[in-house]
């Protein structure tokens, strides 16, 4: 059998072990703590804001959320080595702006706010994102970009693919018409 590729993602596994076992970082105080990983592209503050925002975009429910699936690390890595630099800058500025809005409106860092306050600020960002997308010509906006990265990062993570979705590495057969109830969830791939 072929050997799976070695990849940087595996290197995070050790640092993340705590998050996999411990209660999910789902609410403000936990998210405001020092991240259990060292960001590459982002400052510590930006990483904290990103982690809190991701957990609201894809919260822990009956399945793990963004933090447990290492989504913030995934995005940090993409910003460091994958996106165009100007796109990474736009996302960083967006996160800084989100944190500044949190401090201006609620007097605390975004990551330290209760979920309802965070959602309020994210709804504003989402509305701005929609306006930017429908402007003529359309303008890029940080929020849909972060949401897109968080969504890809989550549903291609082990937790997202195997718990939120269904994943079968070697199906062995193709059945073209089966009851959805038999599968239960969407296929990861």
């Amino acid at each position: 059998m072929a050997t799976p590729i070695l990849n940087r993602r595996e290197a995070f596994a050790g640092a993340l072990a705590a998050l996999w076992i411990a209660p999910v970082v789902a609410h403000a105080q936990a998210a405001a703590a020092v991240p259990a990983w060292t960001p590459t592209a982002l400052s510590t503050d930006e990483a904290r804001t990103l982690a809190a925002a991701c957990e609201r975009i894809i919260p822990a429910t009956d399945t793990p959320g963004a933090a447990a699936a290492s989504v913030p690390q995934f995005i940090d890595r993409a910003l460091a080595g994958w996106c165009e630099p100007q796109e990474a800058e736009r996302l960083r500025a967006g996160l800084a702006g989100l944190d500044a809005a949190a401090r201006a409106r609620f007097g605390a860092a975004f990551a330290a706010l209760p979920p309802e306050r965070q959602d309020e600020l994210l709804r504003t960002a989402d509305a701005e994102g929609r306006a930017a997308a429908t402007a003529r010509p359309p303008r890029p906006h940080w929020f849909p970009a972060v949401r897109e990265l968080a969504t890809v990062g989550y549903f291609t993570s082990r937790a997202g693919a195997t718990q939120a979705l269904r994943y079968d590495p070697v199906p062995g057969a193709y059945r073209g018409c089966v009851p959805l109830a038999e599968i239960g969830r969407g296929w990861a791939t």
């Binding site: 993602r9 919260p59 059945r175």
Partner: protein, 575 residues
């Protein structure tokens, strides 16, 4: 000294030399070795061992370093400006099967998408695997319409070789009894999903001439003893084919032809061997062998054989001919006709229609089928009803239905959105056309001796584009697809016509065409150079027209047929 030279020459002498190890090189190697010829396969790229050198074949989604396995923007720009143009093929899981464009430059007078991989197995590892026969509608088209030159063969010449190839490679498909798309030796067809079945029923009720069938694809669904004995197994429906199949379930040189050739004990494969020129023996008026540049050592070497098969793919095989100019062949080896490098064709695509489907919400599927629907050509079949006043030839569709996934566009954020994306989305249907491109003499590649690559070898310049015939066909390709989706009662029917530049179909062909007259063609009916009968060209270069179906099956049949002839003629001393 003379003895040493003689011995060196003997050690470098084979019965046959095959240039290239891709889909046709593998076939030439198999047929020639099985017919008793000691054969040397020269491959310009590095080795790829079946299974062992498919490093990403078992990678899971979470093994990707970056989103969806896509390469960093800066790296794509610097190293893969051409290879990334397909939008799907090049990822961190496949990059080892594609060339770096910065190391393999060429010039584009008009955009030309030259998507390729240099390694043992070539593009047989990354091909789309769709396998269709030509018919006499295709072989007779040039003669009937007075386009370019006539093919020197007809379907009857190739039919037994299609049988031979299909039996060995394994093609899953459904017999349909259509004259324009002859049936073959099929393994059991893959299944259509519920929406595809409904689409077939509803669309065929309205357009009975537009047959909807499951794709014919080179995957094993019921392996034969011969296939099992080669170490190949049944398709596991992972749909990760492009990374190399650890089950040997789809056909590749690495999984099949090279294995069979190896087992004869008459095969030698020499990777990292860039064939630069054919060597011509003036006295015998035959090729005596080839000269190579060792890509690792930079040394030039010569190898000798009674017969040479060029199977390097259409563009490199023509490059070798053009680069082998000499006093005898001032315009390129075997190029007295001036047709080498001309008549460059491909299949034009990126045009069709999509739709969404109401209903079937409680239905789903299981497994990842590496195949889709096929709708064979239904235009210009020779009868009045199918005749188009606005263009010649035709197109086929490939497509399929599926439920939208977690990556469908959504707004908002939070638990509700997460829950929604954890369930499959609505059903969608998509049809994409593959259209025939006519052979235009001015669509060509030329050798550029002024600009050299990193080995000091001449580079190529491409100047080719589709014409009015293809442009008119594209309008119909979008409109007819939309019509069928409308007829099926689907919603949000959206015709699309995207950008297309020659090469994007990755079916480049025609650069050393077959024909009846040495003045207007390069190869004869057996794929021999008119001007040097012990050199055969059996890859896409040989094509006199392009038809609209995926070409690899035809290349393989031409190769097997030519190799059988070469072995027989060589034995009789007729080469």
């Amino acid at each position: 000294m003379a003895n040493l030279n003689n011995r060196a020459r003997a050690e470098r002498t084979y019965d046959a030399i095959v240039v290239g190890s891709g889909i046709t090189g593998g076939w030439a190697a198999k047929e020639l070795t099985e017919r008793g010829l000691k054969t040397l396969v020269l491959e310009r790229g590095g080795p790829v061992r079946h299974v062992l050198d498919y490093p990403t074949a078992a990678a899971d989604p979470w093994d990707a370093q970056y989103p969806r396995g896509r390469l960093p923007a800066a790296e794509l720009r610097a190293k893969y400006p051409v290879q990334q143009r397909t939008g799907y093929a090049l990822t961190e899981h496949t990059r080892h099967f594609f060339v770096r464009d910065d190391e393999n430059p060429y010039a584009e007078t008009q955009r030309f998408d030259w998507i390729r991989g240099y390694h043992v197995g070539g593009r047989s590892l990354t091909w789309g695997r769709q396998s269709y026969r030509w018919s006499d509608l295709d072989f007779e088209a040039n003669a009937r319409e007075g386009i370019a030159v006539d093919w020197p063969i007809r379907y009857a010449d190739l039919a037994p070789w299609y049988d031979h190839v299909e039996r060995f490679i394994g093609v899953s498909g459904q017999a349909e009894g259509l004259p324009q798309l002859p049936d073959g030796v099929f393994q059991p067809p893959m299944e259509m999903n519920c929406v595809e079945k409904a689409f077939k029923e509803r669309s065929e009720a309205r357009f009975p001439d537009r047959r909807i069938t499951i794709g014919r694809t080179a995957h094993l669904t019921a392996p034969t003893q011969e296939q099992l004995a080669l170490g190949r197994g049944q398709c596991q429906y992972r749909n990760l084919c492009i990374r190399g199949c650890p089950f040997g379930a789809y056909f590749s040189s690495n999984a099949a032809t090279l294995v069979a050739a190896e087992r004869t004990g008459r095969l030698q494969v020499r990777p990292n061997s860039i064939v630069t020129t054919l060597v011509y023996d003036e006295r015998r008026q035959r090729a005596s062998g080839v000269r190579i540049l060792d890509a690792e050592t930079g040394q030039e070497e010569e190898f000798y054989a009674g017969v040479v098969f060029l199977c390097a793919s259409a563009v490199p095989s023509a490059w070798i001919l053009l680069n082998s100019a000499s006093a005898r062949f001032p315009n390129g080896f075997g190029n007295g006709s001036d047709q080498v490098g001309r008549n460059l064709m491909d299949h034009h695509l990126g045009v069709g229609a999509s739709a969404l489907v109401d209903g079937f919400e409680d239905r789903y599927y299981s497994g990842r089928r590496p195949n889709g629907l096929y709708i064979p050509r239904f235009r210009n079949l020779g009868d009045a009803a199918s005749r188009r006043p606005d263009y010649l030839r035709g197109f086929g569709y490939q497509g399929g239905a599926g439920r939208l996934g977690w990556d469908r566009p959504t707004e908002g954020f939070g638990a509700e959105r997460k829950q929604a994306l954890s369930q499959p989305g609505p059903w969608g249907v998509r049809l994409g056309g593959f259209g025939e491109i006519l052979p235009y003499a001015d669509n060509r590649m030329t050798l550029n001796r002024e600009v050299k690559d990193r080995y000091g070898l001449p580079t190529l310049t491409f100047d080719a584009a589709i014409g009015d015939n293809e442009a008119a066909m594209r309008k119909d390709m979008a409109a007819a697809a939309a019509e069928m989706l409308e007829a099926a009662g689907f919603k949000n029917v959206a015709p699309y016509e995207g950008d297309y530049a020659l090469g994007l179909g990755i079916h480049e062909m025609g650069t050393a065409r077959m024909g009846r007259d040495p003045k207007t063609s390069v190869l004869n009916a057996r794929n021999q150079l008119h001007e040097c009968p012990n050199v055969f060209v059996t890859d896409g270069a040989a094509m006199t027209s392009s038809a609209c179906v995926n070409p690899s099956l035809t290349y393989m049949a031409l190769t097997a047929r030519a190799a059988a002839y070469a072995a027989e003629a060589g034995r009789k001393g007729d080469l």
